[in-house]
Symmetry: C2
Subunit: 339 residues, 2 copies
């Protein structure tokens, strides 16, 4: 198959490699019809992740059509169109039953998501069938494989409930989806910390009621002004740097929770003393995507939410290297790829 | 009055100083009948807290009898015997109403707790009247001013509920009270990480079902063995060092929460990547003592709980310097002082 291979920092190539094969009776093989590039792929692209093995296939967000199933797959058939969560789960272990499917004891990951085919482990428990035929829904359905579920997870971790004032730190695709999640969970006021005009427009479309373009102390001061000096009821930290975490802690009201979903890269410095004085909570991690899909898929299929708006560049898979470059240089927020 | 004065590291003296006076119409002055030394006092004693001003009075845990009230105090009268929460709160601000009385916008602290008298701000909202005349209850009532409420807060922050398997990291007075809190909140199994025999006995009396004496990797491995390799449903981190926090993260099951209540002293290094992979929560801070007293005071007055067991040295206030030395050298877990 044609697949995106990362050979090293800044070295992305579309090459021909072996098709993925069933490895277990619970696996399925999906022919990918839409894929995308994740902010976390850029860590590898930029050479900022330790212990990387090159060359290897890359990409973990996709949807497509099932072309092969293992003998133990019961709930799906060849030809089914499916959303593929980036993390696959068994649905039966103690962690899955506890709602932490992302820590499934038999977890596997989509490892050739920017390609023609991908293998999915524990297909029955991992996949979700797509019912709609509406082609316009494809970007939003694709967003469910990771970015929208991840933004949702940030809001759930932060404890967003109806009537709250919520701040979203970061206006990447995850942050924008966090705004949409907060809106769906009933937040009354959503302050998006965003300084890019195009992203501010999406944030507003997703339900942001206030925009704060400043960062650091100025941004914190602006948010404090907007929240009676007390801070927000919930904060979604969707950047993943020490600076953004410090901002999140500074603007969270006493007793509230900071939800975080960015893969930490050397960001171990948490402002513990601020958290202690304000009794803050910090909760987050890798999103249990499959847990949220029964809620999110109908919202996308009905058109109630359109997280696909985060895609601002639509390329053929052949142009994947151009897609990485566009995201690396911030010319694009998120790139959709069509094999 | 006679009061404990800290002149610098390791320099504790009982001296004569001015009596505290009413500063606001909502204040009360309490004649202290029982006081104690807190683990957090040792940070100052050991010279490990930055920005200390010497000399000054020290001590924040006490109970006693009201001897003077401001003109706006309505719910208490001279002669009332009261538990004095170490943090005083107005009960009306947005943080108090949100249940974070420890971040009260008008918060004050007991600053001469190891003395004959202490001033209490916002007496109506801060104090709790003692009804029992039973002298044997004094140590347990005294424990409500901080240590028992703090152990309770650790358990609440960690989300302890009925049937859970809970681990308490640390066997200081707060950790021991954390065991008792977990037991009262219905934990089915309570693993106390404790290596001192005398403290193990108290932990067992407070409801610990298992004792793990090992620390570090060995201790983590023992807890994993006791929890089916998955980890605990809730972890109370009652030490406050980077090592103990790392242990807490290692033994917490995916999706669970680590409650912490120790004043962080340079411990800003949180194992974020472990937390991310396991979707852990981290929550804690300064205990909102007054919030818990309506629950805890009746438990002490009825004899249902006896947190006073954490006191293993009972001294006259005159011997306060000896008390600090005993705690500093770990000859005592917690020292009760009688003015």
């Amino acid at each position: 198959m044609r697949a995106t291979i990362i050979h090293g920092p800044k070295d992305i190539r579309l090459e021909t490699t072996a098709d993925p094969a069933l490895q277990a009776a619970t696996d399925a093989i999906v022919r990918i019809t839409a894929a995308c590039i994740c902010g976390s792929d850029l860590w590898h692209y930029r050479g900022l992740s330790k212990g990387q093995v090159f060359p290897r296939t890359i990409g973990h967000e996709c949807l497509g059509e099932i072309v092969e199933i293992g003998t133990d797959v019961e709930d799906f058939a060849i030809g089914d169109r499916v959303v593929v969560p980036f993390n696959h789960c068994c649905g039966r272990c103690t962690n899955c039953l506890a709602g932490v499917q992302s820590a499934c004891l038999q977890r596997s990951l989509t490892t050739s998501g920017q390609a023609e085919y991908a293998r999915v482990g524990h297909a029955d428990a991992s996949l979700m069938r797509i019912e709609t035929d509406d082609h316009d829904r494809i970007p939003s359905l694709l967003a469910l494989s990771d970015v929208m579920a991840t933004g949702w997870h940030a809001a759930v971790c932060a404890g967003v409930t109806a009537g709250m004032t919520v701040v979203v730190v970061g206006d990447g695709a995850v942050g924008l989806c966090g705004v949409l999640a907060a809106q769906q969970l009933g937040a009354e006021r959503i302050i998006a910390m965003s300084r890019h005009e195009d992203r501010q427009r999406i944030a507003t479309a997703f339900g942001a009621t206030d925009l704060v373009a400043e960062r650091g102390a100025d941004g914190e001061s602006r948010v404090k002004d907007l929240t009676d000096g007390i801070g927000a009821d919930a904060v979604l930290e969707c950047v993943g740097t020490g600076e953004s975490l410090a901002t999140a802690y500074a603007i969270a009201r006493p007793g509230s929770t900071v939800g975080f979903v960015g893969v930490p890269h050397g960001v171990e410095n948490v402002p513990m003393f601020v958290g202690f004085a304000k009794n803050l909570g910090l909760r987050g991690g890798s999103a249990p995507v499959r847990k949220y899909l029964p809620t999110l898929l109908p919202l996308v299929e009905s058109g109630a939410i359109t997280p696909g708006l985060v895609f601002d560049l639509d390329l053929s898979l052949d142009a994947v290297a151009e897609g990485y470059l566009a995201m690396d240089t911030r010319r694009a927020t998120k790139v959709l790829l069509r094999p």
